[in-house]
């Protein structure tokens, strides 16, 4: 095994061109900011024009005429920007390489081109989905979607058409909704209520007002005469849309309303093509098809891969100020990542022993950061020092023990926990993720919380680095109890390091039981960096249990 010094640095040249996927407002804004920083940007949009797939951003985001002009100017500026190459009707056909050195294949109607880029910004659009089916309704003259209503209101004839009419909105029963959905509703409610003789009823579940000025917009509609019925169950709507029956909570009886027009809510959902994009780019998704895992370490615009960023509707439903925020955070992150094209990285971040590597590609498959690749001539795994985040999952999963992590090599880690088996008894070795449990342990110690006298904390880069071998060696060489302490599910900086750790603890526990020893000598638990008190409680509990079991019979 090689001992690697983390202090030796090397310089690596990376590509500095940037690909922005998606020419909606988020993509346009990100491209403009990144290009202003001096990088060359390719902006690839799958449709025929920039600005997003939505025909009516004015109504969608509730923009004034002046604000719509600002948006139009922004799009115009990007098209004219010398540093931005705009490609419409263009899709990503293939994607290869590693962070800082990606090769992207772009397909533009009949034309295919390949390009080297250092970083990628994904700016997928969202999709509008009318939810009439959730209410058993078909769209018709008397039943319209929010988008159809927006178009109707944009027409000069709206006043004549809707004056004297009864309009009913159905919101929040077909979906949970969000502030942007609610803002669209409230904007049109206020507009309708201002029309002479138009009566507006809104049947709504939770009113989502957690955004700037929405409570005031809600008040505005009501002050103009709109009536909101807040219900927890959807009202009954006749299939022809002619009658809405609901339980009136004040008079406590069923009331029927006969509207002239029903407006059904629309959901704003992630683009269906996100799945293919995620596979191509090897980035994680959340449960709702957005292109960012639901993990605080990714917020606001990071993904599991270095140099791949997500903005706007790629990562969630957001209003325009948040899109602006995303775009600027991304530009700053792109600058931080690409710099001037030369990166200084530690030399021995993660090293593959070519003599041992059998090219089984286990590491390639388990790396959560897409940091491992190979070149045809060598047929050995190569770990990119630019993309690698030194979690060490690959080192512990490698069946040939061919990978060592700088600063956390097998020799260094074993020397640490074997050499220092602390004085107090029982001896407890706690492998602690440096991002969570190790911080919690330091907090507990510094706050003078009670801890076991025989506790030895071993800092690991991620619990995914804890080998089965470490656990068994610690127990065999003098530890009376071993803990593997890691981040909560969904909080691992390397996405799945905690899961690998839990599997290895289960394996080790089975082996202990088969060999006739107590399973409780080994424990897996999750903690966050700010859980000093819980760390103390957990360790004292472990100490008490070990005292019950007695000192380890496994000691030499």
């Amino acid at each position: 095994m090689t001992d690697i010094k983390q202090t030796d640095m090397e310089e690596i040249t990376i590509a500095t061109d940037v690909l922005v996927i998606g020419g909606g407002l988020a993509g346009v804004r990100a491209a403009a900011e990144i290009a202003d920083l001096g990088y060359k940007v390719t902006l690839a949009e799958k449709s025929a024009a920039l600005g997003g797939s939505q025909q009516n951003p004015g109504a969608l985001f509730g923009l004034s005429a002046e604000e719509q002009r600002t948006v139009a100017d922004t799009i115009q500026a990007v098209s004219a920007h010398a540093q931005v190459d705009v490609l419409t009707q263009t899709r990503v056909a293939a994607f290869a390489g590693v962070s800082g050195d990606f090769t992207v294949t772009l397909a533009t109607a009949g034309d295919v081109r390949q390009q080297k880029v250092g970083a990628v910004v994904v700016a997928a659009d969202f999709t509008l989905q009318p939810l009439n089916a959730a209410y058993g309704l078909s769209l018709s003259d008397g039943v319209v979607s929010q988008s159809q209503l927006d178009a109707l209101l944009a027409d000069k004839a709206a006043e004549a058409r809707l004056g004297g009419k009864v309009v009913a909105f159905l919101v929040g029963f077909g979906q949970e909704g969000n502030p942007l959905v609610m803002k669209r509703v409230m904007k049109s409610v206020a507009a309708l209520a201002a029309i002479e003789g138009c009566t507006v009823y809104v049947y709504v579940n939770n009113i989502k007002v957690a955004a700037d000025s929405l409570e005031k917009l809600y008040m505005e509609g009501r002050s103009k005469g709109a009536i909101y019925f807040k219900l927890t169950e959807a009202p009954h709507v006749s299939p022809d849309g002619k009658a809405i029956t609901y339980r009136d909570l004040v008079v406590r009886q069923d009331v029927e309303l006969n509207p002239d027009l029903i407006v059904v809510e629309e959901a704003l959902v992630a683009d269906a093509e996100n799945r293919q994009l995620a596979e191509l780019l090897r980035i994680d998704q959340d449960a709702w098809n957005f292109l960012q895992s639901d993990n605080v370490h990714r917020f606001p615009i990071q993904t599991n891969r270095e140099g791949v960023f997500v903005v706007g509707a790629s990562r969630g439903i957001q209003d325009l100020p948040a899109v602006w925020t995303d775009a600027e955070n991304t530009a700053m992150a792109v600058k931080g990542f690409l710099g001037n094209g030369t990166k200084r990285v530690p030399k021995g971040k993660a090293v593959v022993d070519n003599g041992k590597c059998t090219f089984c590609l286990t590491c390639y498959r388990c790396c959560p950061h897409g940091a491992i690749y190979w070149v045809a001539e060598s047929n050995k795994a190569i770990i990119s020092p630019v993309a690698c985040q030194t979690c060490g999952i690959c080192a512990s999963e490698c069946p040939m023990d061919a990978i060592q992590i700088g600063g956390f090599s097998d020799i260094e880690l074993k020397a640490e926990f074997l050499g220092n088996l602390a004085g107090g008894a029982p001896r407890i070795v706690a492998f602690c993720c440096q991002n969570s449990a190790f911080e919690a342990g330091q907090m507990a110690a510094q706050f003078k919380m009670t801890l076991p006298a025989g506790l030895q904390m071993v800092k690991v880069p991620c619990a995914g680095k804890v080998d089965l071998d470490y656990i068994l060696t610690a127990l065999a060489e003098g530890a009376d109890g071993v803990l593997v302490l890691t981040c909560h599910e969904g909080n691992c900086k390397s996405e799945r390091g905690n899961t690998y750790a839990s599997w290895r603890v289960e394996d080790a526990q089975r082996m202990l039981v088969e060999a006739g020893y107590e399973k409780d000598r080994l424990r897996f638990a999750t903690l966050a960096s700010n859980m000093g008190k819980e760390f103390s409680t957990l360790l004292l509990d472990m100490e008490a249990r070990i005292k019950e079991l007695g000192l380890s019979p496994l000691k030499n």
Partner: protein
């Protein structure tokens, strides 16, 4: 990098100020971080982790991480226990600092030996984070000269005594959401203030101070539904037998995964769409509230071990003074006014930027994103720095 690096003052060491300072520092900008209290991390460093088996994405742990980044950064100069007293413009800004009006918390005896002697007091005495240990506060340096200013002075939690009928401050087991979180952080779980016992029946009252026409507070605070639901689920995780009732008007989202999380909450908690008006004292420091059921209007008289007031985000108490100092405006609610529609970090005074809840209620994640944007805008203003 030029021989004379650009310098930015960040006002406020909460999560927004920390994030802005860290982002600037990474770009090679020197930062003077001015914090009026004795600790960095603001309100957010006092919040607890709300993970059960799984992380709930509250972001409390990212505050620890950011705090650590900042105290370890060589080009961030922290001035705590002081506040800005004077600002003059001369191309850049000449800034005079003065002793803070915020009193340092009393030292808790016994904490040096044993934390368990008084967890709440000891956590406060340790400034809530191990990363605050090295701070040396209260010494105002000579004047600062800076090229730009990021204002991240944060918010004031709603003063719950203003809703007198809840008897907050009089009944020990009526607590605010902030106190609830501080308690979990210090004790590892929820305990009743009156006797230190685990409560069996808890009520949350939402929108205390927010969405309140009578108080003129026409805004939703964004964070109260998320923290109430997350802490409720944490309590349920610690004790599946606990009964929790959430009194609410409308439940706001916690993030992308809200629909799934809310479904779980609906199974575990009782939701009542009715905000009770009075909290009455009962025997054994229990609390009584009256409300009507939504389905048939039946009046219910219920007793609880603890009542949590989900207090919201109010404009900072010092906002008017700061607005005058910096010559920037406040909006009708008393938060700082942004000068642009889409870029909400811009102010009317070129070279001064807003970050976090100074501009209105935000979650931890939104504050961090906003602060990153403010840092980027400041960089642009400085001409790319570096």
């Amino acid at each position: 990098m030029s021989a004379d690096p650009k310098k930015v003052m960040v006002i406020g060491g909460g999560i927004a100020g920390l994030t802005a300072a860290w982002e600037l520092s990474k770009c090679g900008v020197a930062v003077d971080l001015v914090e009026k209290s004795d600790h960095l991390g603001g309100h957010a460093i006092q919040y607890c982790c709300k993970a059960t088996e799984e992380c709930r994405q509250c972001g409390a742990c990212s505050v620890e991480k950011m705090l650590k980044n900042v105290v370890e950064a060589p080009n961030i100069n922290v001035h705590c226990g002081v506040e800005v007293g004077r600002v003059a413009r001369n191309g850049g800004f000449e800034v005079g600092l003065q002793a803070s009006s915020v009193a340092a918390p009393a030292v808790a005896p016994g904490c040096d030996q044993r934390y368990e002697s008084n967890p709440l007091a000891c956590a406060a005495a340790r400034k809530f984070s191990k990363n605050n240990a090295a701070l040396d506060c209260g010494r105002a340096p000579a004047d600062l000269t800076v090229d730009a200013i990021i204002l991240a002075s944060g918010f004031a939690p709603f003063d719950a005594t203003r809703k007198g009928t809840y008897n907050y401050g009089k009944l020990p087991n009526v607590v605010t959401g902030l106190e609830l979180e501080r308690g979990v952080r210090a004790n590892g779980r929820v305990l009743r203030p009156s006797d230190g016992q685990a409560p069996a029946k808890v009520a949350f009252i939402q929108c205390v101070g927010s969405r309140d026409e009578r108080l003129g507070n026409l805004w939703c605070s964004h964070v109260c539904c998320p923290y109430a639901l997350r802490v409720s689920e944490l309590m349920k995780h610690h004790n599946p037998e606990i009964e929790i009732t959430v009194f609410y008007m409308d439940i706001q989202n916690t993030g992308n995964n809200f629909p799934a999380f809310y479904e779980k909450c609906k199974q575990d908690l009782q939701f009542v769409r009715n905000i009770p008006v009075d909290v009455y004292p009962m025997e054994n420091d229990r609390l009584r509230m009256r409300y009507t059921t939504e389905s048939d209007g039946t009046p219910v008289d219920a007793e609880f071990d603890m009542v949590v007031l989900s207090i919201g985000i109010m404009p900072g108490l010092d906002n008017q003074r700061i607005a005058t100092l910096l010559e920037i405006g406040l909006d009708a609610d008393g938060f700082f006014q942004s000068a642009e529609r889409f870029n909400r970090t811009a102010t009317a005074n070129n070279g001064i930027f807003l970050a976090g809840t100074v501009g209105g209620p935000k979650t931890i994640a939104a504050s961090m994103a906003h602060a990153g944007q403010a840092a980027y805008e400041a960089m642009k203003y400085l001409g790319g720095a570096e």
